[in-house]
Amino acid sequence: MTGSVGAPAERREGREKVSGTARYAAEFHSPGRAQAWPVPSRVARGRVTGVDTAAALAVPGVIAVLTHENAPRLAEPDDPTLALLQNARVPHRGWFVALVVAETLEAARAGAAAVRVTYDAEEHDVTLTASHPGVYVPEEANGGHPAVREQGDPDGAFGSSAARVDVAYRVPPLHNHPMEPHTSTARWEDGTLTVHTSSQGTGAVRAVLAGLFGLSRDRIVVTAEHVGGGFGSKGTPRPDVVLAAMAARETGRPVTVALPRRFLPAVVGHRAPTLHRLRLGAETDGRLVSLVHEVTTHTSRIKEFVEQAAVPARVMYAAPHTRTVHRVAALDVPSPSWMRAPGEAPGMYALESAMDELATELGIDPVELRVRNEPDVEPDSGRPFSSRHLVECLREGARRFGWTGRDPRPGVRRDGPLLLGTGVAAATYPVMVGPSTATARALPGGSFLVRINATDIGTGARTVLAQVGADALGVPLERIRIEVGSTELPSAPLAGGSSGTASWGWAVHDACAGLARRLAGHVGTLPGQGLEFRADTTGAADAESDFARHAFGAHFAEVAVDTVTGEVRVGRLLGVYAAGRILNARTARSQFVGGMTMGLGMALTEGSTMDAAFGDFTESDLASYHVPVHADVAGIEAHWLDEEDSRLNPMGSKGIGEIGIVGTAAAIGNAVHHATGVRLRELPLTPDRVLTGLLGRRT
């Protein structure tokens, strides 16, 4: 074995990215390529009664205006958000009601501004409350999780607990905002559709387009050579790709649809707001007796998506009496969808904040409280863990962070106008893996070609899969060539759910291991086209496991709260993870740190407001929706344990793309409490909230 796996190999596409030659979806120029600009609805609920396109068509350079009256008819999609320009119904504000296709970006934008749409507006309701009369318990939450689970008598046990925490938290709507807006370039030629798209998985894009346009899949090629981030919002096709394909078919021209940034919050999904009620009942020694986590969230009128925020409470702690509930109200809001660690990110914010409150209540160190509640088996299912090293992460993190000897008293550490504090929270994320295919070919020159329709959205998939292949073949990394990001390659699942590397790596491993066996039996020189082995992990990767499989981690934060302004600065953020085998130390660190950075944003700067009167997200651009900037991120460290787990996949890896965000917001919020003595239960912790809390403390 050459030992490529685990090495900090440099990104294979790095040189293209730093030189500006890496091509993204809008950057496939072909002769006659047109640009398109959508027109969003101005009402939150109702019907389009008329679209006057005359003025738009008179704009120099405008080629066509697609509306529900003239757009190509599509087959009904499984995802109702893709039924674009098919009828007059407006399900939420910002829903696209027309598309202007033009010679240039300028003409397309001017044309879109000239389209006159009239509506029959209806009363709308976009305001989520825990007592909303429309709230119901769905059959299941996102990910197929049952909406409700209950064990024992949680209410009775809570009522008779020695120590009780009964608190409510709110996480606002959040937006993924990858740096590359959702973009697709489509071209029809001889009945064949070619699409360059910014997606986390081109296989799903092809399948959806085939269905919508009634084409067989072999008439569609979808590529995603480079993708400027997704964070869940590009997990399945979004309106850009459907509109581009429609417009290209209608005009006979290649068409690029690059969604304007301000349109994204309404049409690419968002993390739905979650209202949490946590009840923790414990013995005086800290052992939980009762754990109740109830979540209320919203979804749209056309699609039920239920953020599974109570699910991590089924995994984390031993408690004999538990209830986890998801409730949802369908409102006239944009359809929510996946955002990095759906469920775990908001759910663990609430649970880990409540655990901190319990620790304070009991006077027990918050690290110790978590250790005392470590379960032997997965609490909800009773299944043994394939591996679980949360306690080790907490201990190692505490050691590295300098947690030992921490003064637990809140609000007593001052540095001039600053109040200082530290906080901890645990993290978890499930191990997911899906079946995949891959081929490996030995070429006469001594190199190897690995082909798989993986998508590199910035995770370093090309690099890490080459490492897996090199080790399976027992050859140096430089001899592996790899092709990803096209439906012309062996089919593979999307980059999502932190499952990409596990799923693709398994197939690459099997293909390369199979090829190695064939080569071992091969005598003489290779044939001209080389020797190939194809692997398909169906049946293995999707086999039911007897084990509960999750990654775990611990986050530690140090904050300074300015008593003059209420501004919070995170001086240090440290994460320790147990996520199976780490396949590339360099790219893994970047993923962990990236997740923690997004968690920092969730804690301090990110939040969106649903405007009750107009029914849209007020913070629709990057000036008002505050993604963290360089200056917000002082010191972030990510570490991991060497975790061996043979019950995962041939590499022994767990996913790492999402766990970094999980628990980070709670660690920061807990540190803010430790600094100030004020418990703020609504994110983000912006100066208005923090200062108001500080002022309340003094009276």
Partner: protein
């Protein structure tokens, strides 16, 4: 964005006469706000008169020690200029507290003054806004207004002026120089921006066709203490939730001169005259600073979701006054 004609002006006279001969004209300087608003459709000029190459790009000391900053001096050059840094630190600090390095390299002194509010309703053509479309209503008053005004707002408009630089100019008793069809004139920075009243569409006292040609700062010796502080949602690259610029001179142990202006509280930089009067002649104590700030902020009329701005502004003012006092008394920055 509608198509527009483009004229590059070589002199102030050329600029103003080109403006006069093109209906629907706008002056184009750094463009960091105008181009943004044109893309949004909020501004739709028929012609742009490019004034970026006018010979108004220098910082010069006038006889008597005043400083003139040309309207085309880029924000980054203004803030980095040694005379500005040494004599008007509040101005340098205010500019560096705003926007990003890229934007400051493009934005001009004149353009910074003339930037429009970042009120989300103003920026969204699909919503009512009396500033953008007089008579259409105000979406913010009952809507999302955490960032909006607490002082001097009207039933018609609760927008704030977004500039950091203008707040410092106001506290520093700067003047805005203008040239137009009727000749040149100057207006005190404190009077340049308006309160909304029943004409929120009018941000400033500028007249049609007038061009900002520069700003003039009164003579100040190096070491006249002044400072700017801003609170915001992230550590950089965000508009102020509240800010304050303070100029403070102590004479014989009491306040001999105080210039105080708040940012992000009103439709214009808010010159805190009542606070200044209370400070004049007072011993520079924390209690005096708190009293002065309270006097000024007494007039605040917070909306449903922005009451936090009052204590925030108070804290900022007291903090900056205290720091400047410490500096004056100890000769060192605290």
């Amino acid at each position: 964005m509608k198509e527009f004609a483009y004229v590059r002006a070589g002199s102030v006279e050329e600029a103003t006469s080109a403006y006069a001969s093109h209906t629907g004209a706008r002056y184009l300087a750094g463009g960091t706000n105008l181009v943004d608003l044109m893309k949004l459709g909020v501004e739709a000029p028929a012609a742009l008169i490019d004034v970026t190459r006018l010979p108004l790009d220098t910082v010069e000391e006038l006889p008597g020690g005043a400083l003139r900053v040309g309207a085309m001096v880029r924000n980054s050059d203004l803030a980095a200029h040694p005379l500005v840094r040494d004599r008007y630190p509040a101005l340098s600090q205010a500019v560096f507290a705003g926007a990003s390095g890229q934007l400051r390299n493009a934005a001009t002194t004149g353009g910074n003054l003339l930037q429009r509010t970042r009120c989300p309703y103003f920026q969204d053509l699909s919503k009512p806004c009396n500033k953008r479309e007089p008579g259409s209503g105000c979406g913010a008053r009952d809507g999302v207004h955490r960032d909006h005004a607490v002082l001097g707002h009207s039933a018609h408009c609760i927008a704030t002026h977004p500039s950091d630089m203008a707040v410092a100019l106001t506290a520093l008793d700067g003047r805005v120089e203008l040239a137009g069809p009727e000749g040149a004139r100057s207006v005190a920075a404190a009077d340049f921006h308006r309160l909304p009243g029943d004409r929120p569409e009018q941000d400033t006292e500028i007249r049609p066709g007038e061009l900002v040609t520069g700003v003039v700062l009164p003579a100040a010796t190096a070491g006249l203490p002044s400072a700017y502080r801003k609170a915001r949602d992230r550590a950089s690259y965000a508009f102020a939730l509240a800010s304050v610029a303070v100029v403070l001179r102590l004479e014989d142990g009491v306040v001999g001169h105080a210039g105080v202006a708040f940012g992000a509280l009103a439709h214009r930089p808010w010159r805190a005259r009542r606070a200044e009067e209370a400070l004049l002649g007072a011993a520079p104590t924390r209690a005096a600073f708190e009293h002065a700030a309270d006097l000024e902020l007494d007039a605040a009329q917070p909306l449903r979701d922005n009451a936090y701005k009052v204590p925030l502004a108070r804290n900022l003012a007291v903090d900056v006054l205290s720091r400047l006092t410490d500096t004056a008394l100890t000769g060192r920055a605290s």
